[in-house]
């Protein structure tokens, strides 16, 4: 009898304590995305009685996007309620953690950052405040995961997290677009907090994908350039410039190279199957130079101009045109990074560090200005391996 009692007691104390400090999922503010904008006192102060005194005078806005659990359709049936599946809440303040706690004055449930997928930062904010400062909390905190992705927007970050379509959660769409890297050369490898951590503390300049929003829709559009020394935004690369950059860095995994040689109606599309970039640094008598070789293989996927010539001639001609087109993109990418921004975001310094570590030690502290004047040559090899169900000849 005594033993049974003891056993029951022990079992119940072990099993029942399982729910100790549990939190109901419906009562959690499950955060999926964060947007950082310049401070907007008027829009976000919600009629506070007193202004929070901040001696620095620096204010910015955080927008937290969390899942609206009551609106998420349960089961396989689509809800069709038309209700938005997410809630955005904005607060203004001087530091991230302070702003998070300001939300506690407005909402009964705490925000939980275990599932945060994306942080969108406004470019305007990053022009004068460094990335390290703005993201310090998220790199330090125990809730946020390092697999979270960072994006930059030229416009308002808050708007990026606001979609017209109520059936999708904007943060998840942003992460999903990033997975399309095999379909476009204009998508950079996602900048996770893990990668950003390394970039922030090194002197290397880096790129972060830029996302724009217009009338409730988003689009990945080019990239923001960050200076390695200050971690501040120094400018943007346009979508067309990005193709050249991803080809050099090897981030391009697939996508289309459009060719429009000569007259109208001669469009051709080359679909990249494999693309390989080899950067060879050279150091001769202290002079640094680079050679970039790009080798691409793929398919002639669309052809508007049918020729009467033999297939192999058509293919050689197309390869030539594609090569020329790719070379133009490389020239443009180098022009933008070397001449306009003077920031090595194409990984040449990285190759120098690996191949000539001792030379790198000498130049690394001032690499970006050295990079701006370093001679870079390139060569492109294009190989059309097939042309689909139709041959390119009439």
């Amino acid at each position: 009898m005594k033993k049974t009692f003891l056993l029951t007691f022990l079992c119940s104390s072990f099993l029942l304590s399982g729910c100790w400090s549990s939190r109901e999922i419906e009562e959690l503010g499950l955060n999926v995305g964060i947007a950082l904008d310049k401070g907007d006192k008027v829009a976000e102060n919600m009629g506070r009685v007193e202004e929070t005194p901040d001696s620095s005078g620096f204010l910015f806005t955080n927008t937290y996007q969390y899942v609206n659990i009551s609106a998420v359709p349960s089961g396989s049936k689509d809800g069709g309620s038309g209700q938005k599946q997410y809630v955005n809440i904005s607060e203004v303040g001087g530091t991230n953690h302070q702003i998070i706690r300001e939300v506690s004055l407005r909402e009964e449930n705490p925000i939980m950052f275990q599932h945060t997928k994306v942080i969108v930062v406004s470019g305007d904010l990053l022009k004068d405040t460094s990335m390290r400062k703005l993201l310090d909390l998220f790199l330090r905190d125990n809730e946020m995961r390092l697999s979270c992705i960072v994006l930059v927007t030229k416009g308002s970050a808050k708007e990026v997290l606001n979609l017209k379509d109520p059936s999708v959660i904007p943060s998840l769409r942003l992460v999903g677009i990033g997975d399309n890297v095999y379909r476009s050369t204009k998508i950079l490898k996602p900048m996770t907090l893990t990668r950003l951590q390394g970039n922030i503390y090194s002197n290397n300049s880096y790129l972060i994908q830029n996302v724009v929003s217009k009338s409730g829709e988003v689009r990945f559009s080019g990239a923001a350039v960050f200076s390695g020394k200050t971690n501040k935004l120094i400018g943007y690369l346009k979508e067309e410039d990005l193709t050249g950059v991803t080809m050099i860095t090897g981030e391009a995994k697939g996508g289309i190279i459009k060719v429009n040689e000569g007259k109208k109606g001669r469009q051709r599309d080359f679909e990249i199957k494999t693309i390989k970039s080899t950067i060879t640094p050279k150091v001769l008598n202290g002079k640094i130079s680079f050679h970039i070789n790009i080798a691409a293989q793929g398919r002639l996927s669309e052809n508007w101009f049918l020729s009467h010539r033999p297939i192999n001639q058509v293919l050689t001609q197309s390869e030539k045109e594609i090569k020329k087109s790719m070379e133009q993109r490389l020239t443009q990418a180098l022009k933008m990074t070397q001449k306009k921004y003077k920031a090595d975001v194409i990984g040449l310094g990285e190759r120098l560090r690996i191949k000539y570590p001792r030379t790198w030690e000498k130049v690394k502290s001032n690499w970006d200005s050295t990079f701006a004047n370093v001679p870079v040559t390139y060569s492109v090899e294009v190989n059309i391996t097939d042309y689909g169900y139709n041959d390119p000849k009439s």
Partner: protein
């Protein structure tokens, strides 16, 4: 039960005791400490060299113990160095093991308190841990060895699994160039990396329990090779994921490696709790073995009853673990322990071995 006449362990168990003692809190912090000193991706070479040094020291200690095959260090130190000096060194070892034991408990409480059980008071994490350790200790060294046989395969499998899944986040360029700045950065890394082999000194105390004391050298060598393998994998993957510049600023870099990926389509998406589970098991192993070594010392030097020693030490360990107020103070204790280990396990054994051989020849 603590006496070694009836309690014998096999060679494999001796290997596992050495391995499980060495693998401890260092797993999570080693990449940062090593990268801070080396500053190039060559940290993994440092760990191979310091591992070699550690094995050498381990062999010296094993040889020393083999001179008195059925006695622990506490027993033969008096014979070797005279009654008082021997006793003093033994007491140093007891204090060292006590602090090491408490340190491991505290690190465990810090990490679980920050990452898993936020809000749980640290005494509530520490006390059950201590009591379970006490319960295991009553069974003597054979129970400890058997537990290690259970947790070791789990550790290996889970560890390799969670590391392998980080594949996507690894950037191999972060590991290059190899020896780009020559060999001198590698040498700078020896000091912090050799400290991650603390635990090898347990061979001084377990040879007496081994069924075949002649195999002590083999036990200590294999027992250290396994941690070297663990450490190399950790250093390579963590540096590849976070880069040297990123690692030096992270408090628990190895956890960051696991927190840096999510696997879609599997039963679980995130795996840091798995790493923390095996890590906690390893901390428990180290805690138990140091607790055992400290109790053994008090038992053999002062001839106190074993149960009294076990029970009496519990509050002592608890209070020592509560002394540091901040995380930084905890790490400082870790550094102090490192210095103590250098003297006790690095400097002391070789002269003692020479002394023992000389005395043996005199007879």
């Amino acid at each position: 039960m603590i006496t070694h006449s009836s309690n014998k362990i096999s060679t494999v168990q001796a290997v596992l005791i050495v391995t499980n003692f060495i693998l401890a809190s260092g797993i999570l912090t080693l990449p940062r400490k090593a990268a801070e000193a080396v500053k190039t991706p060559d940290v993994w070479i440092s760990i191979i060299i310091s591992g070699g040094i550690a094995i050498l020291l381990g062999i010296i200690m094993a040889k020393l113990s083999q001179c008195y095959p059925d006695k622990t260090f506490y027993e033969y130190s008096a014979k070797l160095m005279g009654k008082w000096l021997g006793m003093a060194v033994s007491i140093c070892f007891v204090i060292y093991f006590c602090i090491l034991s408490a340190y491991e408990v505290r690190i465990m409480a810090e990490v679980t308190g920050y990452l898993i059980l936020e809000g749980t008071p640290s005494w509530a994490i520490t006390i059950p841990f201590l009591w379970v350790g006490y319960y295991l200790l009553i069974g003597g060294i054979t129970s400890i060895a058997r537990l290690f046989e259970v947790i070791f395969p789990i550790t290996i499998i889970v560890f390799l699994l969670v590391i392998a899944m980080s594949k996507e986040t690894l950037q191999l360029n972060n590991l290059r160039p190899v020896l780009g700045l020559g060999f001198s950065p590698v040498l700078k890394g020896l000091k912090p990396t050799i400290l991650s082999f603390i635990g090898i000194e347990i061979i001084l105390f377990i040879v007496a329990f081994m069924e075949k004391p002649k195999r002590a050298v083999r036990a200590v060598t294999i027992g250290s090779l396994i941690p070297i393998f663990f450490y190399i994998i950790i250093l390579l993957t963590v540096i590849a994921a976070l880069s040297v510049n990123g690692v030096v600023h992270r408090t628990w870099p190895t956890l960051d490696l696991i927190r840096g990926y999510e696997i879609k389509g599997l039963l679980f998406e995130r795996f840091e709790s798995f790493l923390l589970i095996i890590w906690t098991m390893q901390i428990f192993a180290t805690f138990v073995i140091t607790y055992f070594a400290a109790s053994l010392g008090i038992f053999q030097v002062f001839k106190v009853k074993e149960r009294k020693v076990f029970l009496g030490l519990l509050p002592v360990l608890f209070f020592i673990s509560m002394i540091p107020k901040t995380l930084d103070e905890v790490f400082m204790i870790g550094d102090m322990l490192g210095k103590a280990a250098v003297i006790l396990c690095g400097v002391l054994p070789l002269p003692l071995l020479i002394l023992a051989k000389w005395k043996g020849r005199m007879k």
